[in-house]
Symmetry: C2
Subunit: 473 residues, 2 copies
């Protein structure tokens, strides 16, 4: 982390506003922390839309949420106020790929070649700069907690960094600077694929992803501890990248913490898993003990009926990533059927082709409509539940405007050309990330007036991304 901290110093000396870590005390010792008070003309409360809502927070928690109130001395928020939104599936470094993978044939391999070219370049310094900017973009879009599915662990060639979790430390520092909570989903990635003869060895840049064996992965993860603004969870990259015998290790290491896994994103994964194990990927995860209420299956696009029943019956969360699933031509997963079978839903921006939770929510509903030929597949309330599923990242005390909950909120303008004329209760169907005005995380304003406390986030993105593409050429 020395290198990463030096990078922060360089940014500070270049004029960027230093960010408070989220867990920094608000006031000096000796003085009682003041209440924070906000007034919302409209807000989406657990019981539904409400007008004239006073929200009071102390020490990062809501202590009062009152409807039909007067503004008084509270800070007036514009538009309609939502709970803090979650981005349940992020690969921060994929932010580099936006608007870079559609030239030439623009096929899957164009995309993957680009992704690997960037993965080959990153070090803890450059990853900190990139992730800070990517997370700040998320905060501007209303995200108060991100789940980072983190597999870029090691130096080029697979060598350990002196600090083996240097990359995880960079991500943690990035989230603190960007002002959102992080669930670090440390990802086990041991194989380059799943063939008829079993797991293929990792190759090329994949060596950076692999700890060599499940026990070495578990040892490294054991050094990661929870922090006030960071939870540690685990992930199995996929049944392609984690051999069968290692899947059980992942479940054991999880020990009830969030356990995420890419599941059946492409039909080829299903074919390979059936050929190697005689089971669907869902079936394999079930047999190896990976399905439970702390589990989040990401994508879950190509499922059988029994797969749907197994995921629903186990009470897993299924994280859809609609803007990625359409960009990567994955297809449309059975989200409505999963919900009816008992699964909870969440949403993630995954490769960040788009960072806009509203667009992900509309994508969830729209893809269902395209697949079913029917409107009204999820209610606005159900979509908001998916957007605020902080539980799947290990923060069950977040995601609602209610006394005792973490004091996260997102004020969405209703006076933009996009939102003008819409019913505030249906704002998810009109707003975009551009309409987010104020974002509060654990009682602290990270975004106000559409500006992030770090300043010019677009400049941070450009500064982080351009050198990576220049080096990749």
């Amino acid at each position: 982390m020395v290198a990463a901290l030096e990078a922060v110093d360089r940014l500070r000396s270049a004029g960027f506003t230093p960010a408070r870590p989220v867990d920094e005390p608000v006031t000096g010792a000796g003085s009682a922390p003041p209440d924070r008070r906000w007034f919302a003309g409209h807000a989406l409360l657990p019981d539904g839309p409400a007008a004239g809502v006073l929200l009071v927070a102390r020490d990062g928690r809501f202590t009062e949420v009152r409807t039909g109130a007067e503004a008084g001395d509270a800070h007036r928020l514009p538009g309609v106020v939502l709970p803090g939104l979650v981005n349940a599936h992020s690969h921060a470094f994929h932010r580099t790929l936006r608007g870079r993978t559609h030239a030439g044939s623009g096929d899957f391999w164009t995309w993957r070649d680009g992704m690997y070219a960037i993965a080959a370049q990153l070090d803890p310094d450059s990853y900190l700069a990139l992730a800070r900017a990517a997370y700040a973009e998320m905060a501007l879009a209303g995200v108060t907690c991100v789940g980072e599915f983190h597999y870029l662990h090691h130096a080029p060639g697979g060598a350990r960094y002196t600090e083996p979790n240097a990359m995880a430390a960079a991500l943690t520092e990035a989230a603190a600077d960007a002002g959102l909570r992080l669930t670090l989903l440390d990802t086990c990635y041991l194989a380059g694929g799943l063939g008829p003869g079993g797991a293929a060895p990792v190759e090329g840049v994949q060596r950076r992803f692999s700890d060599g064996c499940a026990d070495a992965w578990a040892d490294r993860v054991a050094d990661l501890a929870d922090l006030p603004y960071r939870r540690v969870g685990v992930a199995a990259h996929s049944v392609r990248a984690v051999p069968r015998e290692a899947l059980r290790t992942v479940a054991e290491v999880a020990g009830g913490r969030p356990l995420h896994v890419h599941l059946s994103e492409q039909p080829a994964e299903n074919d390979a898993c059936l050929a190697a194990h005689g089971l669907t990927p869902t079936g394999l995860l079930a047999v190896e003990g990976l399905l439970g209420t702390a589990t989040t299956a990401v994508h879950a696009t190509h499922l059988t009926g029994p797969d749907v029943d197994a995921l629903g019956g186990a009470g897993v969360t299924v994280c859809l990533c609609p803007t990625t699933e359409r960009d990567l031509a994955d297809g449309i997963g059975p989200a409505r059927a999963l919900a009816e079978a008992g699964a909870r839903l969440a949403l993630g921006s995954d490769q960040h082709a788009v960072v806009d939770p509203f667009e992900e929510a509309r994508g969830l509903e729209a893809h269902e409509r395209l697949a079913s030929g029917r409107r009204g597949r999820f209610t606005p309330t159900e979509l908001l539940a998916a957007l605020t599923n902080h539980t799947c990242l290990g923060w069950p005390d977040a995601g609602r405007l209610a006394v005792g909950a973490r004091a996260d909120l997102v004020a969405v303008r209703t006076d933009s050309v996009r939102t003008a004329g819409a019913d505030p209760a249906q704002v998810l169907f009109a707003a975009t990330a551009s309409d987010v005005d104020t974002v509060v995380v654990d009682g602290r304003e990270v975004v106000r007036g559409g500006r992030h406390r770090l300043g010019e986030v677009a400049a941070l993105l450009t500064a982080a991304i351009e050198p990576l593409w220049q080096a990749a050429r």
Copy 2:
């Protein structure tokens, strides 16, 4: 139009900036009009992306487009400059429906009940105010020409207005105020549906849509003339709303002008047409002489192989409306197959659930990816061609940054959090309507710095929409 003009006066007295009609002379008589000069760091020219582009216009046409140039005294545009974008399919009054049709069951009937409730309220005054705001929102998104598929012709109950084209006049005035060109697609709508016994009569609010018979429709259309900023085209609403014998009249009245038609948006239309005529809707249009190079088929979602061949072979334009087609659960049309069969493509926002040409272009590509399981279905160049297909609206001299073409341009910021890091040549895959900085139509700036010359467009939208919903309750 007196009432409509009075509405403009009221707005002006309320502080709104009066807009110049697009055809108003730039300078007084006697002085030679000055050149307009812009400089673009990046621009998408007919031959591809270029750097350092000087664009010079006089009398609304480009007189010079030079690459590798210096800015000199030209106005520097930010980001990347595109040709003017087209919105080839608009129902202006549907803008009221955004964020209003997803409550309760949120099904198709929720949507249609809302649409009819609004249609029942409008008069020339309120339609002028609504369409002006809706068109200004389009201009802010980079649209320089809109095709209005106009069927709300008559007073409640179907009575003619004193000026029979009062509603068309309101739309024309709205486009002039908003600063974009209009193709008024005057729509023939005579039947309430297509049953086994033939055409059903119009009912309720549909009476406002109907001229009673094709000849009466044709007589009214004959009174509409082209203007410098308005072309007149025609439309057959659909094979459901236009009886077979009237379809030929529509083709005759078109006489080579743009002829648009809703085609096979839902499977039910195909079923009814097959039952009534023994032909698919495409087959019926072919037999009745409606397919040709001046024809635009809108949606074209549920087609047979022979339908695709017929549309492609006739050289029609197919206008996809991806954000509407997913909102209304229409399904995914065979856009790639149509292009390969010889059809040209265009894009429209239709019901304006979203007004963002970039999102429509991404939707075209993304829906193809979801349906095919493959990336890279349309190149960025092909998507830009669909976004700039002014020919299908009767303006073949627009839609490209080239000498002699109409001087339309759209500058898209590349320094937003959405576009930062993207290749300017792939900006369509990163930008949103929020990133449009400058819009020039026929040589005149309508939008600069993301501000429309009318001022607060969101306020215009709210002022136009809220009273309609209050009256509809």
